[in-house]
Assembly symmetry: C2
Homo-oligomer: 457 residues x 2
Amino acid sequence: MSETTKYLLDESKMPRFWYNIAADLPRPAPPVLHPGTHQPVGPDDLAPLFPMELIMQEVSTEREVPIPEPVREIFRLWRPSPLFRARRLEKALGTPAKIYYKYEGVSPAGSHKPNTAVPQAWYNQQAGIKKIATETGAGQWGSSLAFAGALFGIDVTVFQVRVSFDQKPYRRALMETYGARCIASPSNETNCGRAILAKTPDHPGSLGIAISEAVEVAATNDDTKYALGSVLNHVLMHQTIIGQEAMLQLEMAGDDPDVVVGCTGGGSNFAGIAFPFIGQQLRGGGKTKQRRIVAVEPAACPSLTRGQYAYDFGDTAHMTPLTKMHTLGSTFTPPGFHAGGLRYHGMAPLVSHLKELGLIEATAYHQSQCFQAGVQFARAEGIVPAPEANHAVLGAIQEAMRCKREGKSEVILFNLCGHGHFDMSAYSSYAAGKLVDVPYDEAELAMALAGLPSVAA
Amino acid sequence: MSETTKYLLDESKMPRFWYNIAADLPRPAPPVLHPGTHQPVGPDDLAPLFPMELIMQEVSTEREVPIPEPVREIFRLWRPSPLFRARRLEKALGTPAKIYYKYEGVSPAGSHKPNTAVPQAWYNQQAGIKKIATETGAGQWGSSLAFAGALFGIDVTVFQVRVSFDQKPYRRALMETYGARCIASPSNETNCGRAILAKTPDHPGSLGIAISEAVEVAATNDDTKYALGSVLNHVLMHQTIIGQEAMLQLEMAGDDPDVVVGCTGGGSNFAGIAFPFIGQQLRGGGKTKQRRIVAVEPAACPSLTRGQYAYDFGDTAHMTPLTKMHTLGSTFTPPGFHAGGLRYHGMAPLVSHLKELGLIEATAYHQSQCFQAGVQFARAEGIVPAPEANHAVLGAIQEAMRCKREGKSEVILFNLCGHGHFDMSAYSSYAAGKLVDVPYDEAELAMALAGLPSVAA
């Protein structure tokens, strides 16, 4: 029997459409509201921030949105990405389950983020935009947009959370190699940054603050737009190429997943692997296989499992519209942990909506368990996962061990959203026994939730 | 016209044989000599260090050596690797040349090294070996053998050059994640290490010293064998899967290279891309296209362009046999530069022999030029090359610019042997203008060459 099994799609089968789950929802997600009027926002309200094509995608209810050919051309650098059967891991676990993983670490930036960075840069270029501002935490998104910007001749400015800017210079170096400008946030370049620094000169920054700075730059400069790497509908839709490919690859393998697992920060890689499968179920009524869809989040930033489903701001300075989502409160600062890509107070509105509809489950794990799973995976399968991806690895292992206890040979699919080559210092800490679990502050969470904006139903 | 062009081989076309250039040489390479007797060594002399299957490959003159199926199974994790047409780079250079690159950074360790690490670990496992000792500089080889060891249940001990051990902890973390033991060299674990530390307690180490330590451990422990990541005939042969795949992929593209470019440290990735093409020429006599084969080495460690073709030791403590090669002298310590994988005093005997036969050319560049080329490549093609690979990138760009001057649309193929995600601090230094060229010490080179062992012809 073959020990490694890779399922590669022919390039001609790379999806030509993104899948838009809005077309199949039993009821639409709550509208996005203007923060002043609390009335639903229209496309014009978003025009200062995004090119109109992306705004139309944000509000679209078309099931299939064509992927432009120049975007597919760039995707061919690494797509279709491989699907693997984790036979050696199955053996190590002694499970009767079949474990498959979709591997997105093959992109030039090492994660799934270029799946949306490339189309976002392209739509901006088509609209004549020459500059984009964005934010990044650990740097996966910032480096991916820098990569896409280099290919389409767009100047990219990235506000990077200061603690990451200082402590993790490698993804910053990657952004700069691609020609992007990287600024520690909070910075002196924006009103919002200056106000924070005036109060707290050594502020470590947060994703919420960095978003405020990037949005301010875009809102106050006619030649600059804004780009977000997760959370928004169109960003999640761009990632559905992952799940669509996985579906075709599992057909090649002759399998259909019982459980689909992804890690969640803002929600985009999870949506990417899961939405096409959820959509199939929604369209099939009772006739399709009923799958469990499991979101795995960090216990230190548990928006889906401990947050409130409420209208909230996406940023700290309250410059964004209000969206209904699972949130820990826009003033909540998650403790420092290594999966920087999962350190966000809110959850994508679409993912939150699906949770409310009972279409997905959520679970939360501490980072030390996740790294243990990641090391076990690396030694069995050879690929070292990013700290974010370790949450999905652990989620899949937990399901496989349940199958072992129950004597079931279920099919488990998870998304390995990136490699860990930029995160080896975290693995060093883990190996040295220095990686500790960092609980959030319950009092701070209570205060942040108490401060949620009050929006009439 | 398509902007990105990727040529992917079907898995069924992954080569089933390694190509052994020894079968096609117009005259054989000079024999390896015993350091005491100066007589040719036989397989038994090497038995303490290597399993017999690898020794037989080392001395084989069979043109095709079968790749064991369990090795091909592991290769499927990342092989066949992609071949790309660098259309955006061609456009940026304004060259009429066609540039193709074979990309080996898709392996779990991020470089070409697993192509030989996996078979070496497998042959050791088949011979009942439970432990392997090896050395590594920057860590590409050590992490690749650690990866292979994890898959085949072999304990791997890596002696890592101390300056890299201290300054570049990320590949060490990768080795440890795979379960290998990593020791700073010179160490107190060997006679040779202790002798050096007694004289120079803060010795920064060198690849030559680390080889001595690993060989000593293997030679003095019955249960332990030794593995080398480059230089030896069987190691170069394992890498020929690169060139064989590239040949099939260029056929798909309808092209045949006029120039083949690779970077050279010990010589293995260069041999991997070049030997199958050289072999085709040798077998074809005058009937095959006459290609130029260009080896690019660091100006700070220029064994092919400035070394002497002479018998020398592979290590500093003179524990290895004597091989005829281009060498800077086994006591020569190359200055510190970022392409740690190219920092070796000698060149593979087979590559050296081909140079003497006039079948390959060699050129040397300083690292600042190489990084400039690497940044240009990253912004055009999206992939950030390893510092070692930047030498090949620059070599290819120089050829493309010559084609522009001469108005020729030649076909250029180069090997992009690894990604730079572990080397972003070097890119940071380059971006900050802090990366300087480090010439070697002419007096030290003269002394090292004067100290070459005298071997009767």
